[in-house]
Structures are given as structure tokens and as C-alpha cells.
């Protein structure tokens, strides 16, 4: 649907672009735009992080993004514009991992749609984060199981 932009961007192609997200979800009829940016932190569970590698099952992830967008459309549409983009590859601290933006006539729907979408992306998308630490160690993050309940648990 042309009101929904869903993308996976390999970091070697360049960083995610919040300005493009804001542009995409803008509309003369919209008063409210909410944007979420997820970035790689320098510290997790007390360990100094030097970078994060994102592994991804791309076709299923994109299909999932489109389903997430369609669900938000049902909940907050029919005018809702959505932008969902996730980075792939080896990111450094401060790099953008995910950008979600929602535009609607009024702000309440923009906030709720943006929040619902980022939660769904985090809990259901086939994406895996491997953290790299300053001591050279790397660990795949604990995550949300996709068994049974497709929405996983809310813990991460």
C-alpha cells in the first residue's frame, strides 16, 4: 500500500534516514507525526558494547512489516501513513537500528500507531541482534520466542 513504506536497509548502503521517514508520513491533512528512532547503545546489562550485528530473514521480515502496518491501518486508519525501516549488518554505537514514523490527522493516533508498530517490530520480526563487546566477546541477545503466541512476551 502506498501509504505504508516498509524497508530493510543494509548498513553498507547507508544509514537509516529519519528525515525521509518524516517526509513520507507527512500530509496536508495531518496535524500529528510521531517518530521513533532506535539506536545502538554503548552499554547493555553493564557491558561496554562496541557494536551490534543484525541478522535478518529479509523476505519474512518485510512481509511481517506489511502485516504490522495493515493491522495499524485497521486500528488507526484509514488515512494513517506509516514508515518502517530496519537496519541490517554490523552497526557501530550510535548507528540507527530502526526508524518508525506515523502520520495522522490528530496526535493521539500518531502516538499510539507509532508505539504499536515498534512493539510489534521488536516482538515479532525475524531479526536477531548480536552484541559485540570491548573484550572481543560477542553474544546473541535473548529474545522473544515466536512459538505459539506470535506476539511473544513483552519482556524485551
Amino acid at each position: 500500500m502506498d501509504r505504508h513504506h516498509c524497508a530493510v536497509v543494509d548498513i553498507v548502503e547507508g544509514p537509516l534516514d529519519p528525515a525521509a521517514a518524516l517526509d513520507f508520513v507527512s500530509d496536508p491533512g495531518f496535524g500529528g507525526i510521531t517518530l521513533f528512532v532506535g539506536r545502538v547503545r554503548d552499554l547493555n546489562h553493564g557491558r561496554v558494547v562496541t557494536g551490534v550485528s543484525y541478522d535478518m530473514f529479509v523476505p519474512l521480515a518485510l512481509n511481517g512489516f506489511r502485516e504490522i502496518a495493515a493491522r495499524a491501518d485497521g486500528d488507526f486508519g484509514p488515512k494513517l501513513k506509516l514508515y518502517i525501516a530496519h537496519a541490517k549488518g554490523r552497526l557501530a554505537v550510535g548507528d540507527l537500528a530502526v526508524v518508525v514514523a506515523a502520520g495522522t490527522p490528530h496526535r493521539d493516533e500518531a502516538f499510539r500507531a507509532c508505539r504499536q508498530v515498534i512493539e510489534a517490530v521488536k516482538h515479532t520480526s525475524p531479526i536477531w541482534k548480536q552484541e559485540h563487546y570491548e573484550d572481543g566477546d560477542s553474544v546473541w541477545s535473548e529474545g522473544c520466542s515466536l512459538c505459539g503466541d506470535e506476539h511473544g512476551h513483552a519482556g524485551h
Partner: protein, 86 residues
Amino acid sequence: MRVQVSLFGAFRSFDPGAQVLLDLPDGARVADLRQALEQYGSTHWQDFNPALLRRSAFASETTVLREADVLPADGRMAVLPPVSGG
């Protein structure tokens, strides 16, 4: 049928090509694939973690499948450990 299982996340490192080929009876279901992969992992992968596989889902390129679902005819599957995007 020959099933090609793509490996992601913590499973990816177990195989240089990040995939495993398994032979399963025609009409096999996700539960059968799970069992076959557990057996394969136990014998071929040094650091294989059966608990992680039990928390993992199986999917085609378009959707996550349930245990009772029959495997797709093209035999292309993926094993999805717990996800941690964003």
C-alpha cells in the same frame, strides 16, 4: 522430501553456509522437522543448545508455521530462534 533449513541468529554459526539439508517423509509437519533438526544438531553441532531450539519457531519465506502445519512443497524452511530486533 528434501528440506532446506536456513539458519539465523545463534544457529547461523553452526554451518558455514548457514543452512542444513534434511530428508523427511513427504507430508511431514513442522513438528517432524523440529525433531529431525534436534537430532541433526545433537550429532553435528558441538555447542548445540536443545533448549534454544525448543524456543525457536519455523517459518517459510512468508509466514511462521505452527507445529501441526505440513511443510511447504518447495521444502524451503527457516529456523527462527527468539527474536531481538529494534
